[in-house]
């Protein structure tokens, strides 16, 4: 599966990825790891979770930086990355989960409102999602099972799998 969602979007967008700083425990990730193990899939070394904000607008990167820094992150415990296209990561399977078109996204709506009220941008749309980094000996079939049973509810979510590096597209 490829990152179709990003290809089909006509609008310009930036993605802000927010993750826990190195010394902060990623409780949510640990919880997902526990759930995967309950499925009967062992050999999971680590699961990390980031929040994604897809900010659809025409603007420069420095404005997005301002939004991330001032509005989206908790400066004490979180850090962020800004990019346009997700990259693969060595030794990790990556899964991105976004809400399907038409499903209400309250966090996205509130972010949009806040960005406009802060005066940084005038015309913007925000969609939120989650990004999972999964480290362990896994087959693609198992990753798909994890997506369907734990990470995404296919009724409201689309999910995209980025293969572990070195396994070919």
């Amino acid at each position: 599966m490829k990152n179709n969602a990003q290809v089909t979007m006509n609008k310009n967008y930036w993605i802000v990825e927010i993750f826990k700083k190195r010394n902060i425990r990623d409780v949510f990730g640990e919880d997902v790891k526990k759930s995967i193990e309950e499925l009967g899939i062992s050999d999971i070394e680590e699961v990390k979770v980031s929040n994604l904000y897809k900010i659809e607008c025409n603007t420069e990167k420095k404005n997005i930086e301002k939004i991330a820094k001032e509005l989206l992150i908790d400066n004490v415990s979180e850090d962020f990355l800004i990019y346009k296209k997700s990259k693969t990561k060595k030794n990790y399977w990556i899964v991105e989960v976004f809400l399907k078109e038409g499903v209400t996204d309250p966090v996205g709506e509130t972010s949009k409102k806040t960005i406009i009220e802060s005066g940084i941008l005038k015309d913007v749309d925000v969609k939120t999602g989650k990004k999972y980094y999964i480290k362990g000996k896994l087959q693609e079939k198992q990753i798909k099972e994890i997506c369907k049973k734990i990470l995404a509810n296919t009724l409201i979510h689309n999910y995209f799998i980025f293969k572990k590096e070195g396994m070919g597209k």
Binding site: G40, T104, P106, L155
Partner: protein
């Protein structure tokens, strides 16, 4: 027509009518479709899509309770005895309240919630809703919107009440259910569980409303359809209970915008779950929007800016406006409705179940003031039409009429239903199952999912916000103990209080739903009484969740249950003030096999407490205090947690004894008020032994008990320890007060059974023989063994 679509039914035969109903997900049966055809024949035109949708929603099981209003031909055969009656379920329930005719029941069965009197100035409203289908599909969103919806019910009762407490009761499949056995498309119970708990937590906590009472049940029967009951309690001034739409009032929508979410929720929830479901039925909650309008709404209420209000729940505008304009008529302009995005068809706007919206009826003179007040708090308020005395529901989209139906036909036109069903039961037979090792069984029982500690869940909810919670759900040493109910002190200036409890036990229904109803009602009252509530001033709510009621056997069980509700509510003298039924909770697998849930009744109760300083809690308070059991134990282990643990079917199900228990409870109330009773806990799931275990855990104290001294029909350890007979309480009394205590309870079934000890262990005797000795640490460890 440009915007609406005409649907040809005038020329349709029965087969086509059914096809139309199925194709458009209307869930209307052939009788109803014929009636609709008849109506449109009489006005000489075809309906539009919007009109059909509107009728389907108004006549859906969810909104109109067809089964509860139907005439049911019911045959009951118990052993050799056979009885035939005609019965209407709704009438049975309402008859209780009419017969009891209490003047403190201010508003019953007519508004969004029932209202009872708290004092001269204030009333208290209580409503419990279910949100089962949405929660099975998208647990987080479903449960969140469930709690959001019932909060809006309270905001929309009378002219608006202030929500002060949420309650929640869940039924799930076992958390360790095998993944292999789950069919495609069904979420695993553990996932449903986690999603539902976090959904309720996030919505309730963000609204700033404490979640203070609930229960969690696990059973194989809920694997395909979980049950999510959400309740809200609110207070409102007694002069704000009445509401009436006036001719000429503007229709104003406040709160969230309208999108495609939740379309067909009402008709969908009246149908069964299948393996393919459209995305559009899913609703996602946004508590921040609701919190904002909640605050400003109560300001507008106190300024008397509107005449009537209701929430937009199932069926959206169609339901809300159709209901409000029942006696007048309404004209609606759908193109004025604020939308989330473009591209919605007129009927979609009318039927959408987007969350966080409410509809007000506002007199013309207040309209400007109201809108600017809402806007000042950043809440959208938009005029979308007018209530006009036309007797019709007329809906425009731009310059086109997309719906024009007589209110009378909409609300009264539904054909009467005649159903038949039966209930059959063999005589209950006593079983005498012997325990091989009492100590092991006690520890095993306390670690079963239904009984074990739910602390991990309860701690996720904020039960303190608002600062009104006097008796909290977790209490005692390190907040380890569990409370029977929750006590609130709603006002800063006075010591008046409210107490809320609930009763649920679907397992008894396997043997007989009639006694299940009685036991649930009694459990609810017991819970309230053991907190210090007055048994003579309790109002209750009924929530039925049932399986496939088109099956005569399932419907028969429901009728039997309703009969139990009526008989026992009358005997305990508790009125029903509100209720809700959620039927058709069943799953249809690929092979067409239907799997119904166990018929489940939740009874929620609310009582008024005169002085919150005169209540008690469940945990043991002090060493050397004397322990009593009030009430008598019988060989009633049928469907008990002890039998379930061993997979034993059958036996005698507990039978409530109101003639004994009601009087006993009045005395307990006096005993608590006078400070004679130091702690009080009722016996329910898991029997006497579980009650005592919980009291020890909460108090971090041990006890010595002689089980032979417990008043019982049969002197067998298994019966005394594990029977779940109704009407029993364990109480703790100080040594110096036992004479006074025994005087008060003279003539009742009382047995002194032992004492509280400082040493952290439970020592059980049978006369002179020692039965077992278990350390409190071991009990606590086993009680906490369920992994969430």
């Amino acid at each position: 027509m440009k915007h609406a679509k005409e649907i040809d039914i005038l020329n349709a035969d029965d087969k086509t009518l059914i096809e139309i109903s199925e194709k458009n997900l209307l869930s209307l049966d052939i009788g109803e479709m014929r009636k609709i055809k008849e109506y449109f024949l009489s006005i000489g035109r075809n309906p539009t899509d919007c009109e059909l949708e509107c009728l389907a929603q108004t006549w859906s099981e969810h909104c109109c309770h067809k089964t509860f209003k139907a005439n049911i031909n019911y045959v009951e055969k118990i052993g050799e005895k056979e009885e035939k009656i005609n019965i209407c379920l709704l009438k049975e329930i309402m008859e209780v309240t009419e017969k009891l005719n209490y003047d403190w029941c201010i508003s019953v069965f007519k508004d969004n919630a029932g209202i009872i009197e708290l004092n001269e100035k204030w009333g208290v409203a209580f409503k419990v809703e279910t949100h089962n289908h949405p929660s099975a599909l998208e647990p987080y969103g479903g449960a969140g919107t469930g709690i959001g919806g019932v909060i809006r019910d309270i905001l929309g009762v009378g002219l608006g009440a202030k929500p002060i407490l949420n309650t929640d009761v869940f039924c799930f499949g076992p958390l360790d259910y095998s993944y292999e056995k789950l069919p495609e498309g069904v979420l695993h119970p553990r996932r449903v569980f986690r999603g539902v708990v976090s959904g309720v937590r996030d919505y309730g906590n963000r609204m700033g409303i404490p979640t203070g009472n609930g229960a969690i049940i696990f059973d194989d029967g809920y694997v395909y359809n979980c049950l999510v009951y959400c309740g809200t309690v609110g207070i409102l001034p007694v002069d704000k209970v009445e509401k009436k739409v006036k001719d000429g009032d503007f229709i104003v929508v406040i709160g969230g915008r309208t999108g495609r979410d939740g379309i067909h929720g009402a008709t969908f929830s009246s149908a069964s779950l299948k393996e393919d479901i459209p995305t559009s039925v899913v609703q996602i909650g946004n508590p921040i929007v609701e919190k904002k309008f909640q605050d400003v709404l109560l300001v507008a209420r106190d300024l008397n800016l509107y005449n009537s209000i209701t929430d937009c729940g199932a069926g959206g505008f169609s339901s809300a406006i159709g209901e409000m304009g029942k006696d007048t008529g309404a004209v609606v302009y759908l193109d004025k409705v604020p939308l989330k995005y473009e591209g919605l068809l007129p009927w979609e706007i009318f039927l959408s179940e987007s969350q966080e919206r409410m509809v007000l009826a506002v007199p013309e003179k207040n309209i400007e003031k109201l809108i600017s007040l809402f806007n000042s708090e950043d809440v959208e308020a938009t005029v979308i039409g007018k209530f006009i005395k036309t007797g019709k529901l007329t809906v425009y989209y731009k310059d086109e009429i997309v719906c024009d139906i007589d209110m009378k036909f909409l609300h009264k036109g539904i054909p009467e239903r005649n159903l038949k069903c039966f209930f059959e039961k063999k005589e209950e037979k006593k079983l005498n199952f012997k325990s091989k090792n009492l100590k092991e069984d006690i520890l095993k029982l306390i670690s079963t999912p239904v009984i074990s500690s739910k602390e991990e869940v309860v701690h996720q909810y904020d039960h303190e916000v608002g600062g009104r919670t006097v008796l909290k759900p977790l209490l005692g040493y390190e907040s380890r103990g569990v409370s029977d109910g929750v006590v609130l002190k709603p006002f800063y200036e006075t010591y008046e209080g409210l107490v809320i409890g609930c009763g649920i036990n679907p397992f008894y229904g396997e043997i007989d739903p009639y006694y299940m109803a009685g036991c649930c009602i009694e459990e609810c009252i017991r819970n309230i009484v053991s907190c210090g509530g007055n048994p003579e001033k309790i109002a209750i709510l009924d929530n039925f969740c049932w399986g496939n009621v088109s099956d005569e056997k399932e419907l028969g069980k429901l009728v039997r249950c309703v009969k139990g509700c009526k008989d026992y509510a009358l005997k305990y003298k508790v009125p029903f003030i509100s209720g809700k039924d959620s039927l058709n909770n069943y799953f249809r697998g690929k092979n067409g096999k239907i799997i119904s849930i166990p018929g489940t009744l939740l009874i929620s109760g609310i009582g008024v407490i005169e002085d919150v300083r005169k209540i008690t809690s469940t945990e043991f308070k002090k060493g050397r205090n004397i322990i009593y059991v009030l009430g008598k134990t019988f060989n009633e282990l049928g469907s008990s947690q002890f039998y379930r643990m061993y997979g034993i079917k059958g036996g005698i199900v507990p039978k409530p004894r109101p003639e004994k228990t009601l009087n006993l409870m009045k005395k307990i109330h006096t005993g608590i008020k006078e400070g004679l009773i130091k702690s009080c806990h009722d016996c329910s799931d898991g029997g006497l032994i579980t009650t005592i275990n919980e009291m020890m855990i909460g108090g971090n104290l041990g006890c010595e008990i002689n089980f032979l001294d417990v008043l019982s029909e049969e002197k067998e350890p298994e019966i005394i320890l594990f029977s779940e007979s109704c009407g029993r309480f364990v109480v703790e009394v100080e040594k110096e007060k036992i004479n006074e205590f025994e005087k008060l309870f003279k003539g009742e079934e009382v047995s002194q059974i032992g004492q509280v000890i400082e040493k952290k262990e439970m020592i059980g005797f049978w006369g002179n023989k020692k039965l077992f000795k278990i350390s409190l640490d071991l009990i606590y460890e086993n009680w906490r063994s369920l992994k969430f």
